[in-house]
Symmetry: none
Subunit: 194 residues, 4 copies
DNA sequence: AATGAATGAGGATTCATTCAT
DNA sequence: GATGAATGAATCCTCATTCAT
């Protein structure tokens, strides 16, 4: 059955399987074999296309970040004023795509992976910087010098939403999570610029 | 040289070694052998005292939570009014004992461990509930019905401080981290009760 | 681009690539993939032409022996008297074609391969017998019954030259290696026939 | 059944099993599993005591060299005059201990291993230097400046004996091999010093 | 109380080889 | 004629865990 041009298909299947598997297990302690099996191929092929386990994880992480980034960018297109720019980012963070059990589990695991893996750390920092920058860009006109700190806090509240969702017994829905962060945003906006 | 009552000494040594080792590696992927070695004993003895690797991790986790809880309680003793109760918890969270590389790394790893280990999850939830409860207790007189949400946000900001400390390139000092959370607290207090 | 009569071209390319690869690695632990890559084709094609890895090695071995044999024969054509027959073989053994890093490495590896591969052993013995025979043919008129032993010793000294070249830190040049064996030959000739 | 002080016993068993296994297979392509099994233990234990496959091979090689060296030294003790010093080395080289199928196979394999393994090469060179030095020491009083070259040739003839034994169809016995080298030695001695 | 000894189980990785196109 | 696709089979190695002493 080997057709031509399978590489991108296989890679995508592996990335998705990786996220699913991590989400299911809650750990990075997932065998390449399981991932490959779930992606419908042998582990040898997975190695062939990615080189090694870490590379598979990195690719999966990159995919999560890419999708999230795309969604943020998409939402930003529609944003007319500064405030709605910030809102766009917050909403994208809790969209149905990103705010799902398995994706959240992947997120947390990658955060921890970044503690011991230089490439993972690099990737995470790039993404973090981008998000902060986007947030600041929206907040600066409204809050001036306070923009940086508030951006940081918004990021923390978003992470907090993820954590609660993953560990909490109660399943939070995205809308509720968005509301919480938005309330904080409003509070800061009321206070005004420094 | 086996003396009487070695058990508590051994256990403590293992728990400390575990935290140190996790902090150093940034992962739970630490061998029992290394932990035992660092604690000055054979891995067989570690198993003898704890039963298995998971139990060692659980004990280490319990220790981290216990120390943190004790520090919070200690700070609460000195708190006269509601606001300072809340402040006490925040300050304790960033004390020199808890806000250290290795302890933070352990924290994050335990968070992720909770995704796949029921006992770990249980432990974490108990502690979370206690902290939230303490925060609410202090916030209720000041914020009324809004206390719960604000408590949650404060918790999120504290976690945010930990994350920034562990992953960020710049080392944050405890005082700065405290200030950030306090500013948020003041903002909410200005706004007043619902 | 498949043209007619590609087979001999492909085979030759593979054989040369095999020798080069073995020479570079110093081992038979060379993947078919690398060999094929170096020969400018896919490993599947290599299998198509040779059947399997061992066959590739055998072919490479055969090639080394063939080239060496040809050179010996070529030198023998010019040899007028018995002594120069022997000399011709010795000189051919250290010619620029055979006395090269990669060829020597291949040689040694093939020697060892003969320990575990019957076809390789057969091949090697055929060649050895031919060389001994050639040497004897030249030595008999000069040394009589002693020819056989001396031929054996000359062969050993040639192998010794190869070993020194491959393992020694100092690079020996062919001329020096030839001289060593010739000195031994002279010594035996001085002594005369038995 | 675990008793104390097993390490040296296990190591020795592994070294012997390694040589036997290599001798039987004719290759270094021998699995750690087989070696360990032959030595009566699990492969995990083999790794525990040696670290890795290469280390096992190196240890085996070191053992072969050590035994050979000891035998040479032993023979040298009995040597009264220079000539018998040289003779001692030659005889030791073909003693029943060293001149055995399996040991010879190990030798050849290690020669080839030295082409690609730096530690193996180092080991081999040390041994070679020692043997050459011993030979020279005995030859110098007899041959003066020619000692070095003759030593080299004797070494080559010894290697030649090994090769013939391993590849040849006819089994050579040690006595015959010794005689061949001794004849060469006599020839050089007749000729005298330079 | 304490440990060296020992192993089973499992996992990442590699590679020769096959096959459909 | 040629290759990308694919895999089964092996192999090294690690590690938690057990046990006799």
């Amino acid at each position: 059955m080997p057709r031509l041009g399978m590489e991108p298909i296989r890679r995508e299947a592996l990335v998705k399987a990786t996220i699913a598997e991590i989400g299911e297990a809650g750990t990075l302690d997932v065998t390449v074999n399981r991932i490959a099996k779930r992606a419908g191929m042998s582990s040898a092929l997975a190695h062939h296309y990615f080189g090694g386990k870490d590379d598979i994880f990195l690719a999966a992480m990159r995919h999560v970040l890419t999708v999230y980034g795309a969604e943020v960018r998409g939402a930003l297109i529609m944003a007319a004023d500064p405030r709605s720019r910030v809102e766009a980012i917050i909403r994208a963070s809790f969209s149905d795509t990103s705010f799902r059990q398995e994706v959240i589990a992947a997120w947390l695991n990658f955060y921890v992976m970044a503690l011991s893996s230089a490439p993972a750390k690099r990737l995470l920092l790039i993404y973090q910087r981008r998000i902060r920058s986007n947030l600041c860009h929206g907040l600066r006109p409204l809050l001036g010098a306070r923009a940086g700190g508030v951006a940081e806090n918004i990021a923390a509240l978003i992470d907090g939403g993820y954590l609660r969702q993953s560990l909490g017994q109660e399943t939070v829905d995205g809308a509720k999570a968005i509301e919480i962060v938005m309330q904080y945003l409003d509070l800061e906006l009321e206070r005004g610029s420094a």
